[in-house]
Subunit: 202 residues, 2 copies
Amino acid sequence: MSLQQDSKPRRPGRPRSARADKAILRATIELLAEQGYPALTIEGIAERAGVGKTTIYRRFSSVEEIMVRAFSEIDVDLEIPDTGDTLQDLLELTAFFRERAATAVLFPVMSQIIGTALTNPSVLKAFREHVIQPRQAAVRQIIERGIARGEVRPDVDPALIADMIPGGIIFHKLFQLPADAELPADYPGRVLAALWDGIKAR
Amino acid sequence: MSLQQDSKPRRPGRPRSARADKAILRATIELLAEQGYPALTIEGIAERAGVGKTTIYRRFSSVEEIMVRAFSEIDVDLEIPDTGDTLQDLLELTAFFRERAATAVLFPVMSQIIGTALTNPSVLKAFREHVIQPRQAAVRQIIERGIARGEVRPDVDPALIADMIPGGIIFHKLFQLPADAELPADYPGRVLAALWDGIKAR
DNA sequence: ATGTTTCGATACGACAGCGTATCGATGAAA
DNA sequence: TTTCATCGATACGCTGTCGTATCGAAACAT
């Protein structure tokens, strides 16, 4: 038995192109963000990625599979603020959320995922795991740190706050702002002003 | 000039069927909620409504037009609680939101609208005007009443609260709960517990 | 050099939904 | 009774996407 048996089976022939891999995933995210799920066809992805349909079908068997993979590859360049002050940490994290909600990619992608969730639960699942959960974990961690330091009331549910901060932001952008408008820069501060007195230690 | 000139032009021939009108709009909402936007085709609506395609094309020129009309017809059976106590009013209204979010119709329809908004802004607009705005106005009215009574801090922004309450609920249901799960009955109370100390008068 | 696999490109038949046209029947006004 | 738009039903050609097959060129191991 070779020691490399399952780590590097090394099949013969021309290796799969890593370039094509990236181009497919990139084209998928971009198409989804720019033109929406209905435009996300195999042929459309292939054309945008500069790749043959064959190359896609050799890797994936459906658009949904490509999306799931694309979300798995999203880099979570998410740093959890740690200034020593809970309110300041929350402010910085919320400002980061606002900045990302303004991004030309993340917000439209999320909207498409929401719409598609009814018929594609696996796509929603991947988005939850790779995009939503890290962000919510960041909120929870800050709150838990605050509780440990005595800055936050111990009976505050971190998960609830992790719903309300992004929930408020997303709702505002979805249903209040014009489609092309950005969230006001003072919105994070206003959200936290409404919440902080309810959760801070007394 | 006839006095009835523009109120009842009364064209000759067989009148449009009000029965068909209702069946089309009803089938549209149901199809959207059950199978999603991709399944919302003219032929699908016609079949479900028990109506000929001709009958639809005589009234609408696209699926989007039907959706806009369908939202305009949604009955806003929304009563604004008025118990004399602001927190109690908010609790009752939030409980109503929770109940509706559990509905088999409203929540999935909203999800489809969000997904479709990128390519169909007019549909989003109609949904905002006929579904979202009345609900947000209810929150705002309760808050403003509370401010007038001195129960709520005068510097609280009613619109912000009107974002955060439904935003938190929707976010939780979208990204936290399993697809078929209902919001816990105590969720409204927990949302308000987090907010109330931040907005109540001191 | 040879063998094997992937590359991008292209062609194929199948299918679904589009928007239009046409049908005889229906319902209300004149 | 006559007139006429609407009724549900059905057929039409068009288009876009599907998934598959096939091509010669390219890439890597032996």
